[in-house]
Structures are given as C-alpha cells and as structure tokens.
Symmetry: C2
C-alpha cells in the first residue's frame, strides 16, 4: 500500500455511526482530514481545526447572539463596500467551499486564495475546489499574487493587485494574527470569522464573528439579503454602533458561564 | 519535490523566532506534525492536539493545584500497583517519549503501544521511538497484542496478555472514551491524562489528571519518587480520599474563572 493510499484510508467519513452523538462534529473533522489528502489543508490546519472544535464546544456549537450581531454588521459592511474581497485559506475551502462561493455571488465579492504557507500547487488545489463549487474567478493564485503587503515577511505578504491589495473590506476566516494586523494597518476594514475570541486576529479585526465558519457563512449570506432592504444611512448607523471589544467580551463571558454551568452537571 | 519531501517541508521547528511569545506551544505543535511525518501520529491526532492546545490555554498552560492533587494520587496508585502498565499512543510518543520511558523505569511499569487506529507499521514506529528513548521492552506490537477486551469492536479491543490485559492499574493519555470505559468495566484502575475535563475518558477514569502530558508526566515521575517514603496505609488513605468528579469540577471552575478574568482585560 503506498503512502497516498494509506492516507486515503485515514478518512473515517464512511464509518461514523448514524446515531453517534458527535456525528456532525466528526463529519466536519473528516472534511479537514480529506482536505489534507487533497493538498488543500496543511497539518497545522488540522491543529487549528482541533483548537476550533474546543472553542465551538464552549459556544454550545451554536451561533450565539453576539455572533448574530457581528454577522449583521458584517453584512452591512459587505453590501456597502466598494471592493469587497473574501480571503480563502485551506481550512475554509475544505470546510465550506460551496457556502463561500454562494456568499461571494450574493454580495458580490471577489474570491482570493491567501495562504499562510504559500505553495502554488496548494493554491491551485484550493482554486479547483472553489471552481468546482461554482466560482468563476479566483484571485491570488500563482503570478496573480504579484502585489506585496508592507511589513510582512517573505511569501506571506503576497496578494492580488485587483483583490486584497485594492479591497476596502476583506472577509477572512481562521487567519494568522500578523496578516490581520497588516491589513488593518493598510486601513482596510477586516471581518474575521474566528472561534477564539482571544486570538490576535479576533482582537485586531474591525468585526469579529465568533462562530464556526460552517454556520457563520450561510448565516452571513442570509443577512446580506436582509440588509439590502435597508437604506444606506441605516446601514452606516448599524456599523458605527458596533464595538468589537464589547462583543468579544460577550463571547468570553458566554464561554465562561457555560463552563461554570457544565461544572454543576458533574 | 516528492510527497514525502513536501511533507518534511511542513515542519516549522527551525523557523519559529527565538522571541516568539508562543514559542513553547509552537515547538510542541511541531513535534506532533513531525510525528505524523514519522508515521507515529495520524491526522486525527493533530486535531486532538489542537483541542488540547485550547484547553491548555484555559489552564494558563500550567499544572494547576487540581492536577497536582491527581498526580499525587496517581503516584500512590502506581507504586502500590501489582502490574502497572503505561498505555502509549501516537500523540504521547510524539510529545513525550523520553519522559514516558523515564516514568516507566521509575515505577517500574510496563509500556504498551495501544492505538485507536491500529496499524502494525505505526505500532513499530512508536516502538522504535520508545526504544530510542531507552525502553527495553515494548508490549502491544504486532502479534503481542493477542488478547481482546470484551465489548469493543474490531481491532480496537486487542491488547497484550502480559500488559494491559493483566494490569491492575493502567495509565493512559489522550485516550478514546469507549476504551477507557471498557478498561474500567474490567475492574482496572485507570489513570487518565486529559486536558478536557468533560471528555468521556476524563469522566470515566478512576483518576483524571487535567494537564498537558508534556508537564504531567515529568511531574508524575517526581511524585513517584516522593510517595515511596510514605507507608502503604498512608498511600491507601490518599487514594481513598480522592474524588475524581470533585476534582474535575475544580478544573472546570478554574477554566471558567480564567475566561471571566480574561474578558475583563479586553
């Protein structure tokens, strides 16, 4: 059995019992393992998935009120943006390629592949995944990532000129803190989807959606449709009234209370 | 560049800056990534590592009082055991092979490879890792795993006759809940090292050490040396006075309070 075969055998998707209490979470996990087999996800992405699972557990694996608030504000920012871009990395593509493409079309926003560990083969694998999910244009692949973000080292600063480089609003998920900070310094509005309310990305972003991308992205698409009916002034008021730190504090308090409650059930 | 080469390149151990605020945690992470390259760890093991990182963060990445209490009781159980066995899986071998071998010698306890995803090639890779770390005998590899634990399906129930099958005390880390339950039903005393105080393993084990194996195992070795000076009656009192659920509740309360405190710093 060669190595690739061996790795194929690692997927458990087919053998998780229908009635397993954690079936949903296990199926999501297998998507990321399969993503690694397809060269879409790196091993460090699996570790990130595990960290996410823990935080998601603390959220009760549901989109909570503070996330819904952030999602509504994000929708307002996206529909009022001049050049919104969705930055896609390996985990996002493995978990929610279809949902991302649907969201991009509904805004409409550009899609850009943006990897922490750059690797053209992997960029193309992610592009393929997005195209299979219906994307017509995918930026940031190969030579298209020709512009550089100042102050970031080596390959991590490369972005697409017509994508992130010229965007006013960037939506990203599961992103590295350094890069989020660099984008914010460039005066871009950054919407982050991150399960960890204490990550540097969460603390730095303009709006942080503390939720699982698998739930947050479809919810965001719904809200994009809802907020279209509101006038621009109302949307701007919505955006101005949002305080990211306060919202992150609500997320932390929720997690803290959930742990306290769980301790009473023991 | 072939696939194996490619995977080698995934390790970041050499490029994590000396002054990175999360250097320790990142270096531990790379050990697990390298463990996958050596066929010691499966992808699901990387996800487990990520979940652990999140819980460890909630512990302040320190061995807390409730863990020290559980470690002392575990030491008492191990030195008074007739046939103590340390059950080793891929993540444990990748993270703490030397520490496990040192602990086994100090008790003394047998070492047994025990995998959720059985695979003889991987068993041998783990055996190699333990032997390189100084182990003289490693049970549970290949034909040695000839006995079966009742009520567990397929390959997951196979254990060594002179190891876990006849053990009275089994120390395990990062274990699957089904197997922990099966061992407890067989009247074995189970000591679990698990960062998640709510996992089925944590709830089922006789003693749960809510701590990172990287810190807990050396601490346990120290305590094994300490408790040797106590007489048997005192050790038995120590064991009898320990209530695992109460201790798990302390761990959960600690995590809850830490999150509440962190929310105040935002």
């Amino acid at each position: 059995m060669d190595k690739a075969q061996d790795r194929k055998a690692w997927s458990l998707r087919g053998i998780i019992p229908e009635n397993h209490p954690r079936r949903e979470s296990l199926l999501i996990r297998e998507k990321v393992v399969e993503g690694m087999m397809e060269n879409v996800v790196v091993p460090q992405g699996l570790i990130a998935q595990g960290r996410g699972e823990c935080f998601d557990y603390l959220l009760g694996e549901r989109t909570q009120d503070f996330a819904l608030r952030a999602i509504e504000v994000s929708a307002a920012m996206l529909v009022t943006a001049k050049s919104p871009v969705i930055s896609v990395n390996g985990n996002m593509a493995a978990l929610a390629a279809h949902e991302i493409v649907d969201l991009a079309k509904s805004i409409p926003a550009k899609l850009e592949v943006n990897l922490f560990y750059r690797d053209e083969e992997r960029e193309r694998a992610i592009e393929r995944k997005l195209r299979e999910a219906g994307a017509e244009e995918v930026l940031g692949v190969g030579k298209n990532a020709s512009e550089t973000i100042p102050e970031l080292f080596s390959e991590r600063r490369r972005v697409s000129k017509e994508g992130i480089y010229s965007a006013d609003v960037v939506l990203l998920g599961l992103e590295d803190g350094d890069r989020t900070e660099a984008l914010v310094r460039l005066q871009k509005k950054v919407i982050a989807i991150d399960l960890n309310p204490l990550s540097r990305t969460s603390l730095t972003a303009t709006v942080t959606i503390v939720d699982n991308v698998v739930r947050a992205i479809p919810e965001l698409k719904k809200k994009v449709q809802d907020v279209r009916n509101k006038d621009r002034e109302e949307l701007e008021r919505l955006i101005k009234g949002f305080h990211n730190r306060d919202n992150l504090r609500s997320a932390l308090r929720y997690m803290s209370e959930r742990l306290a409650q769980l301790s009473l059930t023991l």
